[in-house]
């Protein structure tokens, strides 16, 4: 055998070793954090299929530690045996689910509609409302973000009581629209300012009105941004608890309020709480997995100029 002629220099071999440890380090941290993020969700899913002894013994892995049972889902009326028959719990759950869905979707649509128009106007035209210029108007909208919900909660409670809007979906929709509007305006202003004004100028020369140019030319281009804003609003409004807890009681109660009210009463029957919690977070988990791109785009919009 001949001697090896070409060999890596010592520094190169060191580099390879340090590169390898670096990789291990990076992946172990990433995996650790992924575990931290996913374990509570995994825990909730598996717990919803557990029975009392499994909970007490702390069994974690299905089919190895314990055999999954539909106990938790049966208490919600959503297991295979009970799905066909009448169930008051399921009806209650579906009603809350439906309330949450309507309230969050409607308020997000309203916020994206109002917010996109305002953001477009602010990015294209100069306004003067009294002493307020464009930057002041923008600041006025964005400053609503600072407003903590407690400040509005009690006045709204009294106001809604006198307007007969307490415990109605409309009341919640209006309030939620208000809370997400600044975020929508923030995202959309960024979107519109990245679209060149030449597009509208050309459209206007060709005889479209300002609103025509907005709806037919600009909106399709800004659609991804609008989807991002919509999803972010959806997340925030679906999860909202504070206003819903104060302003709704029996008719318009949303899902988080139902989950919260069950937490205390259920004691150790974790399986049903787990099923309920999981049902409450499932829609957003699905949305996150499918539309992750848009969510990240929406949140990144304001960050990078």
């Amino acid at each position: 055998m001949s001697n090896q002629i070409f060999r890596d220099s010592d520094s190169d071999r060191q580099f390879s070793a340090s590169w390898f440890t670096g990789r291990v380090f990076v992946y172990s941290i990433l995996l650790l954090w992924a575990f931290i993020c996913l374990f509570p969700i995994y825990w909730t899913i598996t717990t919803s299929f557990k029975m009392a002894p499994d909970v007490m013994k702390g069994n974690i892995i299905p089919w190895v530690d314990f055999t999954p049972k539909w106990l938790g889902w049966r208490s919600l009326g959503l297991s295979p045996e009970t799905i066909g028959i009448e169930s008051t719990v399921r009806e209650e759950f579906l009603k809350r689910f439906w309330n949450s869905a309507i309230v969050s979707v409607c308020s997000s649509i309203l916020a994206v509609g109002l917010g996109s128009c305002a953001a477009y106007g602010l990015s294209r035209f100069n306004y003067r409302f009294g002493f307020m210029r464009n930057s002041d108007i923008s600041f006025f909208f964005l400053s609503q973000l600072i407003l903590p919900p407690v400040v509005l909660a009690l006045p709204f409670l009294v106001l809604y009581k006198s307007l007969n809007l307490l415990d109605t979906r409309i009341g919640l929709i209006l309030l939620y629209t208000l809370t997400v509007l600044p975020i929508v305006i923030w995202i959309m202003r960024d979107q519109f300012s990245s679209i060149p004004t030449e597009l509208e100028e050309a459209a206007l020369v060709d005889g479209l009105s300002v609103w025509g140019a907005f709806t037919t030319i600009i909106m399709p281009i800004a659609l991804p941004g609008m989807v991002a804003a919509f999803i972010l609003s959806l997340v925030l409004t679906w999860n909202e608890y504070f206003f819903a807890a104060l302003l709704t009681s029996s008719h318009a109660k949303t899902l988080p309020v139902m989950v919260a009210s069950q937490t205390g009463s259920q004691g150790i029957s974790w399986w049903s709480m787990a099923a309920l919690s999981f049902a409450a977070i499932l829609p957003l988990i699905v949305i996150a997995i499918i539309l992750e791109r848009y969510i990240i785009k929406g949140m990144a919009a304001g960050a990078v100029k």
Binding site: A34, S123, N126, Y127, V150, A153, L174, L178
Partner: protein
Amino acid sequence: MSIEEGDKLHVVTADDISNNKKRLGKFLVWGSALILSFTLLIQALDTNAVLTIGLETWRPSLYAYVLWAFCLCASQVLTRGEHGKRVLFVLPAALFVISMVVFPLLFGLVIAFSDWNLSSPDGRTFNGWDNVRQMWVDPFYWNALKNMVWYTLVIILEYTVAFGLAILLNSQIRGRKFFRVAFLLPLMLSPVAVSWMIGKSMLEIRFGPISRFLRWLASEPSTDLPSLLYYPGMYIADLAQWFGWASPSFFGSAGIARAMIMAMDAWTFIPFMMIMILAGLQAIPRELYEASEVDGASKWRQFLEITFPLMLPVSITAVLIRIIFKLKLADIIINITSGGPGGATDSVTSFIFREYRDRSNVGYGTLLAIVYLVIIVIAMTVLIKLADRWMKPRY
């Protein structure tokens, strides 16, 4: 309301608006305003029992207001033509926000200076500065404010973790999509569900997996183990026992309970900062790193001289928004500890929530909220000014 010369979008429009249209527009606004004020007057008289129509709610006034708002928008187009159409972009949102924020805030100010308990039959009476005096000596409110300072300070830690994760995600790794989705998921979960999933079940003392794990760490390793594993096991067990993990309790003592709330809130919101920082990292041009590598800079040096300074604006935005969200922190606290033990975990929001929920004390609660708002506005203004000054010299 007028549009200045020098629009960002340069359009010249020939508006000739007939006098009839102008008159119609004016008529619409003033007519609907008249209807609105008339309705308000009737309702006010009715509630003060001067008139007896027996209106049950203030709904008619609401409808009159909506009508007025519509007429105002319509008249903008009628009287001002093309310019009016442009105003129409911002006007609906502005009217909406003003009516939803300014009126309730003014109303809140009135409530704040009155003695009003919803459960007492007396109704509302002005009590001047009594609520302020009560607030001044209310130890729980000051305690809640102090807690908010702690909660806000933890953001520095959250920011560090988020920055680290963003750098790792931005490096050359496989399965980036998986990690991104996994890291994003906590943000999607409702705080109420999280407070059950983690606070009430995973941190449960007897059966929760985390307390189980801690107890396992604190237990003496079995003597069958080879000594290579046995001695480290003993050491870990001693250490864990020293931490009191043999019988872990998460919401018993003030410090640990607060730390747990902080950890749960951080868990849900770290993805938020991480994504903003990640977007910033991806916007840094590659050439800068290549150039610095040619100049022989180490990784650490690159981070200090390129990444961190360039990320400063993004970081400040992310931290400021995080602070704003943190100041609203309540859901987790309400659902897990409801402020306990002894108010150690109370945030201002959760404290006022209980003030209302348990004691129906609307007047006092609203005053506390308004004071909180004033403090926040002052603090945020100072912070934003400081951030501006900080960022300037870097450019």
